[in-house]
């Protein structure tokens, strides 16, 4: 049809997606991908990248807007329809059957047959080999998928899309599970596919990867389209501005930190994930009383794993972690809390609260076994009511009553419930993981002020945040993590500027070992 621009392989026009619960995942998004280019779709977690791609692959339908594939307006009602239009998707979680061989996975749903009934396995192997050679994606057709490494699984996924006739490939954060070597291999393969005329949409939030292989990039933030750029004309700074957006600058008043004794001491911490990728690499640092140590970094550089280890959601592969000189590795969460550690978890709905329980129940969940809240067998309800009433007042939690279900509150108020519980547990160390992600400005400001207040009262605070603004404003000193290691340590966070941070975050710069070792206050 002439009215559409045939220069594009994919045009998504004015796409909006509103879920039945009222969440608007995409608002008036435009995505235009030229034929034969590698196009990056960028944005932070929750920016709406995955939703947009699900609509392009027919897994979800847009509330409004239109999708045009190769100049033809299409209605993608299911993945099967999308495949028929030449769209293939490599999901972040592989869509493979582990006990089947690579060849069997390749032909699943389109099995070659002999004598009408039996599977022609030789033919399946032949097809696999043919595509594997044609696209230079090396796989072992007879190996079972469960026995092959992650990098090869991804190749199988790409081949699966190609064998079904895909000309447009969507790759959802393909490098998240890959080692460095596997990533560079993947990039070579993608460039090779591009040369053969394939169009690739590459979802990522890693700046360095984007700069390396893409032709153009589109950025989403908070479900809105922020713009499209030629990769060669754009600076990492501009991308990060589009992605993160430091427009609302909230400054928190704080006086000079006067750190004293070391509370948290991490030494040579290591963690290798289930795919054999080293996520935390010989990490060492200290957090002292009275200071906020910030950890900045692009997501996926080991921050999540670090927090998981500190709170025993994951087991360290090596190294030590002590709180006030006592080991906490291998203890359970209750024992870790006994040592005076409090956690504001990244995912508050999963680890922070029980949505169906009341505000009061959530507030006492870490201390309900304690003597002061119990009289013999039964709860001392009077004390519990008193305590929760006080916390609701102190932390300005907007609710009908303490009996209201936490899940019914707004994000900001849910986070305040978490914060109220964690901050009132007499902690010596607070681990605040993305403490203000996705909550309103008022609650954000409140929580930030509280963090500063507590640190000045002599509590050690470890702040992990993907929000550059937050981590730079709040931290007294700051670590930048890259590739599971410390890329830089800055004793005075106020002397840092965005550009410098960016260079360390993207791994363009790295301090010397001596400079980094200053973070261990021995």
């Amino acid at each position: 049809m002439a009215e559409y621009n045939s220069e594009y392989a994919v045009e998504m026009r004015h796409i909006s997606k509103v879920y039945p619960n009222g969440v608007a995942a995409n608002q008036d998004v435009d995505l235009c991908v030229r034929k034969g280019e590698i196009h990056a779709l960028m944005g932070e977690n929750g920016a709406g990248k995955s939703t947009l791609m699900k609509m392009l692959f027919g897994l979800e339908q847009p509330t409004s807007g239109e999708i045009i594939v190769n100049g033809e307006k299409v209605n993608l009602t299911s993945p099967t329809v999308a495949i028929a239009h030449g769209i293939g998707m490599v999901h972040q979680h592989f869509m493979l059957v582990p006990s089947l061989t690579v060849a069997e996975n390749m032909v699943l749903g389109m099995v070659p047959k002999k004598n009408g009934v039996l599977i022609d396995y030789a033919k399946a192997v032949e097809i696999t080999k043919e595509y594997s050679e044609k696209f230079n994606l090396e796989v072992d057709p007879d190996a079972k998928v469960m026995d092959i490494p992650v990098g090869m699984k991804q190749k199988v996924e790409i081949l699966k899309a190609l064998v079904r006739g895909a000309k447009i490939l969507i790759l959802d954060e393909p490098t998240a599970v890959l080692t460095t070597q596997e990533t560079s291999e993947l990039f070579k393969e993608l460039v090779n596919l591009k040369k053969q005329g394939y169009t690739i949409i590459f979802i990522s939030h890693k700046l360095n990867e984007i700069m390396q292989i893409t032709d153009r990039l589109s950025v989403l933030r908070g479900g809105k389209f922020m713009g499209v750029r030629e990769t060669k004309d754009v600076t990492p700074q501009e991308i990060s501005r589009l992605m993160v957006g430091r427009d609302v600058v909230l400054t928190v008043e704080k006086d000079q930190a006067k750190p004293t004794d070391t509370v948290l001491s991490v030494r040579d911490l290591e963690y290798v994930n289930e795919y054999g990728k080293t996520m935390v690499n010989k990490l060492s640092f200290d957090v002292r009383k009275g200071e906020i140590l910030g950890i900045a970094g692009v997501e996926g550089n080991g921050q999540k794993e670090l927090v998981d280890i500190l709170f025993q959601f994951a087991t360290a592969g090596g190294g030590s972690v002590t709180v006030n000189g006592e080991n906490i590795l291998g203890l359970n969460q209750a024992q870790i809390r006994e040592k005076g550690v409090a956690l504001i978890p990244e995912d508050r709905m999963l680890y922070g609260i029980a949505g169906d329980a009341s505000i009061e129940e959530n507030l006492i969940s870490d201390r309900c076994g304690k003597k002061e809240l119990n009289s013999g067998l039964m709860f001392n309800m009077k004390k519990i009511h008193q305590m929760s009433k006080q916390l609701i007042e102190d932390y300005i939690i907007l609710c009908k009553s303490a009996e209201q279900k936490v899940g019914m509150l707004s994000g900001g108020n849910i986070q305040k419930v978490v914060v109220a519980r964690e901050f009132s547990s007499n902690p010596q160390l607070i681990i605040a993981d993305q403490p203000t992600r996705g909550i309103d400005v008022g609650a954000t400001e409140f929580i930030r002020k509280k963090l500063v207040e507590l640190s000045r009262s002599g509590i050690a605070v470890l702040l992990i945040s993907a929000d550059l603004n937050e981590v730079m404003e709040l931290s007294d000193s700051l670590i930048v993590m890259h590739g599971g290691r410390i890329a830089g340590y800055f004793e005075d966070a106020s002397k840092l500027d965005d550009e410098m941070m960016g260079e360390y975050m993207l791994g363009l710069k790295r301090q010397s070992e001596e400079e980094i070792r200053r973070v261990c206050h021995e």
Binding site: P79, V97, L100, I119, M146, T179
Partner: protein, 324 residues
């Protein structure tokens, strides 16, 4: 003691192992197929009971064992499909559906047999044994040539037609699972339904098919019980065979031939128990033998599987490190 040993090592004893194994083997194959599709059909016991009843009744009404056999198979499939509607369409927990079918298998069948015979025979019978004559039993087969071989002949020849079918079905099930596209779809749905549906395989259709096949197998097992193993249907005649089948499926790692071997072990245990009581052991002591062997078998299986899995994980890890 030598008396016991010689009676155990007789051809007649080995013949009885095969005979006792047959009905369990049908149900085991049914369990193997559904488990491959990721469904736990614990209702096999109940399906066997219901099919056994309708098999013997239809054989009596039509005066044909063949019609009875066909009816048992069809009833098995229908019951399994009814279970599927509850589980897949109405989203009831498949285990609860299975429990319901098993209760119908014991309580509902006796109600049915009484009300049906009250209408057709004029009196409420509590079993169909009085209706079944030996002509209505599934015929036995003497295999030419083999029956004349000493020792082997009397063990292998002379079984019910269904016994030979059961062992043939082990092979056919293997072909179905590993050599046909239905089998491939079935296995992929069982392991990763998202992967299957992402390439256009209808997960629901595959699950219905797997359930129907398991119902067919359990129907055959039921037919064997009332039309070959015993003369007619009686209450609780399946006596846990549907559950033993589930154990055999697990012990055989869900593979047709492995599960067959496990079933033979159970068949041996039952035959052994029967033998011991026939030579004078108190039946209160001999009857638990098959069930004790089931438990021991499952424990041994679990230990072996754990070791094997640990080895496999280690191997993948090593490969991963090498790749780097």
């Amino acid at each position: 003691m030598s008396n016991v040993l010689s009676s155990i090592l007789s051809a007649e004893f080995f013949f009885s192992i095969i005979r006792i194994t047959s009905p369990i083997l049908f149900a085991t194959l049914g369990a193997v197929i559904v488990e491959k599709a990721g469904i736990s059909n614990i209702g096999l016991e109940g399906i066997m009971m219901i099919s056994a009843l309708f098999g013997s009744l239809c054989a009596y009404w039509s005066s044909s064992w063949f019609v009875g056999l066909l009816a048992a198979m069809i009833v098995g499939v229908i019951v399994a499909l009814i279970m599927s509607v509850f589980a897949f369409q109405l989203k009831t927990d498949i285990i609860l559906v299975g429990i319901a079918i098993n209760m119908i298998g014991s309580g509902g069948t006796i109600f049915l047999v009484k009300s049906i015979t009250n209408m057709t025979e004029g009196e409420a019978l509590s079993s169909t044994t009085s209706l079944i004559t030996s002509e209505l039993q599934i015929p036995t087969v003497q295999i030419p040539l083999i029956q004349n071989i000493p020792v082997i002949g009397p063990i292998i020849s002379g079984h019910s037609l269904l016994t030979y079918l059961a062992f043939l079905l082990v092979f056919l099930t293997w072909v179905l699972l590993y050599k046909t596209s239905l089998g491939l779809n079935l296995r992929s749905v069982g392991e990763n339904p998202n992967a299957a549906s992402s390439v256009g395989v209808s997960v629901t259709r595959v699950r219905y098919t797997a359930m129907a096949l398991s119902g067919l197998m359990a129907g055959l097992g039921g037919a064997f019980m009332s039309m070959s193993y015993a003369m007619g249907w009686s209450l609780n005649m399946v006596a846990g065979r549907g559950f033993i089948a589930l154990a055999a499926q697990a012990m055989g790692s869900g593979e047709p031939f492995g599960a067959m071997l496990a079933t033979i072990v159970f068949g041996f245990a039952q035959a052994f128990g029967i033998k011991l009581s026939s030579i004078g052991l108190d039946s209160n002591l001999s009857s638990p033998i098959p069930y004790i062997i089931t438990i021991i078998g499952l424990v041994v299986f679990a230990i072996v599987k754990r070791k094997r899995d640990a080895k496999r994980v280690a191997a993948v890890g090593a490969k991963q490190r090498k790749e780097k």
